[in-house]
Chain length 355, copies 2
């Protein structure tokens, strides 16, 4: 029988692009953006079949431990461990901690906690293919078929076929400019890098030892000195703070020679903006996406997301309205990249008010 | 010397057109819509010169007594009395109570508590003129020069000149249709009825005795049975509930034969809608009217009114955004009459949620 796969859920993201709903104290993955369940819950539920998957390991910020435990308990999932980072040190360190925590021959399914996958059954098929290849020592990624010349994602170039639906990676490309992204779409053979990986713990450690030994050793030192409280694992704060902050893509995937990709059409979205949430959201007959305590009347093409507060929108068109906490954000649809500008203006006001 | 004028402030309005800021527990007059002071405070301050005006008498709902006392105390005004209506019975009854409470030869300056007057000095000049005419037994009104064919106000037709700037009223016209309003503007000699009156208490009582004796006698009975607690006057609830609900315009002004008008250009507005508040509001360079905890960036022609909540609007145009309590209203500018539709939709949701 195939070994069980260990889901490793990375829940350290800050989700600043979904301000004001996503905030440092409760970032994106802890919100129910697309249905009843939060993104963390949906991520965990994707790998909840215990015949195929072991109990998950979650890597998250120390301050989010209780929220993660509560949300997983709410859907009946008991994590194997929570690795609680005292400070964020990017994905190479987070994955190193997870790999060090498990046995070398276990397969790790590394998943960001804040992505949407509309067709999890397609993901499961891809996992099966990737697992076979990973069992032979390959570091496997999942390739998302690009449907637009997105400049916000990395791209993966397919090389030779390794098995049915499984390819070696020719090269990784960092977020390209627009013209380059368009050429990839025209050329074909490129997929988006969704940041989901399947690999043996021992291969990750060997790869990091070869390509980023400082990250591996500093992570190991922090974990060796960890405090353990039940399922909570608290790496030593001072030692972990000294770990170099780098993505697993840079530290390992882009420089390793046995990296593969399984292209998969699974309705993936990283919900990287309010416009992205509108795109994947369920539309009412007037093409509004409405969630929470929101009332729309004679509105068209709007995203209205109300948490806690009540939003009443009448007669408006092509707006993004997000209410959360004590804050309401209003933007034209298609301009959700301006969230940063809005959050910065709000933060500036806070500072000037406080002083 | 001329007798001192007694300001009678009518503060019983519900202000439903400024929902969600204006709500039954704290209607429009208790909010600072145009500056630091609330509309009630600005109304009281207009007649605060004790050389010319006596301490004011306020007629308001019982549940608003403490709010009225607090707001007047905040600006150093001590009312002569608060007449606390257990239930609203429109302006004829409210004014009857005030007239019954004062001496017959005192001049009452009846003012709604929720109007804006941008040039109070012009109002004071008009009051002087109106007071002389009222001293001869006339019921005086103030006429607002119409600048648009408004169908939401009553109109007053001027007849013969009684003194400089003082006219007899030819007739009152209820809210006209659009074509009629346009003909009034073209014809000239019409003013808006702003609902501000100056008249001797005894003349009001005599007029009501002649034209609406039931309202007068029922009001008198309720006041005779009133409970008095310091400056608070509490008409008997059961007796007052039996008073016929009618406006002073219908009950008296439209049917009395000695009614005069002093036209006055004083920057009057009843702030009857969010669009009206935008019109009279101070604009930023991009023609936004912004008040409260609101941040606008690259917005144009918007009204953003935030009380309690924080509104951040980026890149939007021609919107009305009002945040108050736990509710945010969003409308296109120029469509603020749809507040009713919005409030009704919200109320319907509340009912269905509660059941």
């Amino acid at each position: 029988v195939a070994p069980r796969i260990v889901p490793v859920i990375l829940s350290g993201g800050a989700g600043t692009r979904l301000w004001p709903l996503s905030r440092p104290d409760k970032p994106k993955q802890f919100h129910a953006l697309t249905g009843e369940r939060t993104m963390l819950q949906m991520t965990a539920a994707r790998a909840a079949d215990r015949a195929r998957f072991a109990a998950p390991l979650v890597v998250c910020g120390l301050s989010h431990a209780a929220e993660v435990e509560r949300q997983l308990a709410d859907i009946g999932i008991s994590p194997a461990a929570l690795i609680l980072e005292p400070i964020g040190r990017n994905t190479a360190a987070a994955i190193a901690l997870a790999a060090l925590e498990r046995e070398p021959d276990e397969l790790l399914l590394v998943m960001p906690s804040d992505h949407v996958i509309e067709r999890p059954e397609a993901f499961l098929v891809a996992i099966r293919r990737a697992a076979e290849q990973a069992g032979e020592g390959w570091l496997m990624t999942f390739g998302i078929a690009p449907d637009r010349p997105e400049t916000g994602y990395g791209y993966i170039r397919r090389a030779e076929t390794l098995a049915e639906g499984v390819f070696a990676v020719g090269r990784f490309v960092e977020k390209p400019d627009r013209a380059t992204a368009e050429s990839y779409l025209a050329e074909g053979g490129y997929d988006w890098n969704g940041g989901i990986f399947l690999m043996r713990a021992g291969d990750v450690l060997a790869g990091l030892a070869a390509h980023a030994p400082d990250i591996l050793e500093a992570s190991r030192a922090a974990l060796d000195a960890a405090r353990r409280e039940g399922r909570r694992v608290l790496p030593d704060a001072e030692l972990f703070a000294s770990v170099r902050s780098q993505s697993i893509d840079h530290a390992l995937m882009e420089v390793h020679d046995r990296v593969g990709v399984v292209p998969v059409e699974m309705g993936w979205s990283d919900v990287g903006s309010w416009d992205a949430l509108y795109d994947i959201g369920l539309k009412d007959p007037a093409a509004n996406v409405v969630a929470g305590n929101a009332i729309v009347s004679d509105a068209r093409n709007c995203l209205v997301q109300a948490e806690g507060l009540r939003v009443v929108a009448v007669g408006v068109t092509d707006l993004i309205v997000v209410a959360s906490g004590d804050t309401v954000l209003i933007l034209p649809r298609g301009e959700s990249q301006r969230v940063r500008e809005a959050a910065a203006a709000a933060a500036e006001r806070d500072v000037s008010t406080a002083s």
